[in-house]
């Protein structure tokens, strides 16, 4: 059973400078009395009092201004940061996609990068070997795959990274923004694969600034503000509150058609107005 529960969790970053990272200071500090080694270290409260409970089938969008704590929350949900106060429980295999470049080595070939990136995302060698052809076909990189990654353009790297990421079978999929930088034709293709990936995954949390993407992939949302959960609920409600208007009204007709929303009454969620 896949689930994530977080109870009253806080994430505080100690900000060390050269002094507080030094042993000398700690040793001298001990002489005067009981001063915790982190007592004088400034702290950034990135998250506080977070209560979240997600279960299998949830498709959650994460919205909020820059620095609101979206990326930090994703890392908390991934188990990378354990809460400094409160507690958290993660059940299921987590596949975090925060930065498409991490775990990629410019000196080795595309094929080898596919393998390494896959292993990092929790796949086995055998599983990756089976998927290599599929990834190669999707990325359309052809012979470039045997060249070192440093010979790739930015967009080519993103293709490779997207190819690997969308080929895995995650139980918990955590996506941070920053999936872009590829041409439109490829994006349409990637979108299909991404959709497929989301369907395969047991639980999705997706931080994104684009209404369209959120509407396409998520059905509920969490609004982060200054490190706490400001609102949590159905996607349309949260997005309307966050943006100050109903995001569904502003979708272009093509998008509505693509998302299959044509039959949705525009004012269904706030019909009283």
């Amino acid at each position: 059973m896949v689930s994530i529960d977080v109870w009253n969790a806080s994430v505080d970053f100690p900000i060390f400078d050269a002094k507080s990272r030094s042993l000398k200071k700690l040793a001298l500090g001990k002489v005067g009395g009981k001063i915790g080694s982190e007592g004088r270290v400034p702290i950034i409260e990135a998250l506080h009092d977070i209560n979240i409970s997600l279960k299998e089938g949830d498709r959650v969008g994460l919205v909020g201004h820059n620095g609101a704590g979206k990326s930090t929350l994703l890392r908390l949900l991934a188990g990378i940061y354990e809460p400094t106060r409160g507690s958290q429980r993660i059940q299921g295999k987590v596949a975090p996609v925060f930065d498409l470049g991490v775990g990629m080595d410019p000196e080795i070939s595309g094929y080898e990068n596919i393998m390494i990136r896959g292993l990092f995302l929790g796949m086995t060698r055998k599983q990756m070997e089976k998927r290599v052809d599929d990834i190669a076909e999707f990325t359309e990189l052809g012979d470039y795959l045997s060249m070192p990654l440093r010979t790739y353009s930015t967009g080519m790297r993103v293709r490779l990274a997207l190819g690997v990421v969308t080929s895995i079978d995650p139980e918990i999929l955590l996506l941070d923004e920053g999936i872009g930088a590829v041409d439109a034709a490829f994006m349409a293709k990637a979108r299909d694969r991404l959709k497929d990936l989301v369907r395969r995954s047991g639980l999705l949390v997706f931080a994104n600034h684009s209404d369209e993407t959120l509407i396409e992939f998520c059905d509920s949302a969490i609004w982060m503000d200054e490190g706490h959960v400001k609102q949590q609920g159905p996607l349309r409600e949260v997005l309307s509150a966050y943006k100050g208007h109903d995001p569904f009204e502003y979708l272009s007709p093509e998008t509505r058609q693509r998302l299959g929303l044509d039959n949705e009454p525009i004012l269904s969620a706030n019909g009283g107005e």
Binding site: A18, S53, G103, I108, L119
Partner: protein
Amino acid sequence: MPPVLSFLVQPTSTVDGPEAPPAPDSRTFGRAVGDVRDAWRHRELWGHLGWQDIKQRYRRSVIGPLWITISMGTTALALGLLYSQLFNQEIATFLPYVTAGFVIWNFILGCITEGTDVFIANEGLIKHLPAPLTVHVLRLVWRQVLFFAHNLVVYLIVLAIFFPSLTEPYQMAGENVVQPGVNWMILLAIPAFALVAFNAVWVALLFGIISSRFRDIPPVIHSFINLIFFMTPIVWHVGVLNSVSGGSGGWRSYIAEFNPLFHFLEIVRAPLLGHQQQWHHWVVVAGFTVVGWTLALVVLRNYRARISYWV
């Protein structure tokens, strides 16, 4: 296709968890031991990465990892020739002695110096992937084991060259002990090396955690380790401690005995050279294994969850 979107669904996320929150378990031995155990299960990952590290370092060179072997060969040859003259030792037995010592030392050195940097250097991975921390340590130790294997070739060559004189009983200058010479006991080097590698894991864990919090540690260790190299009987033999005093060595033998690295070195080196195995080295190493792992697990228990905040 299931509808990706629907307006009338109830919020799937509720504010309160269904049960009472469990007590935070970040700081339990269960999690510390679990980290090490899970890391061991990720063998495929760190095994692959360790290989990749070696291949990667020599990717653009023509003879590739053979460089590791060649550079070790030249160093051991030069040091062996020089010091056998300085200390008036037989080349046939002293050159293999220096080579074996230097190969093992290189492993220890790599694990300690890279161990202090292990979490700092892997900051990106630690902040992006929820893998057990020990994975990075095992990758490091595995890489060093592979380096060791490359270097061991040098020793095997030296062994082949001096095989006739090494398989006979011989004496190192300044020592009264007659060494039995290389025989089947050489196999004892395998479990001995495994034990050293097992210790390398706790060393890298412990030093890595402390260093990620206190950044003065790595430079300190990097500068002290050279001193330790000269203090450890690698290019010199404990026999000289006796010969300078013209007798049993007296207090001077403690220069070696009080150096923990000497014991780690000796359990692997003695069987390789066909030296008489002194069992107290094993006892000391076993003691360090128990104490070291206990210490590392205590530190891991207390600070495991802090590493991703510190790096």
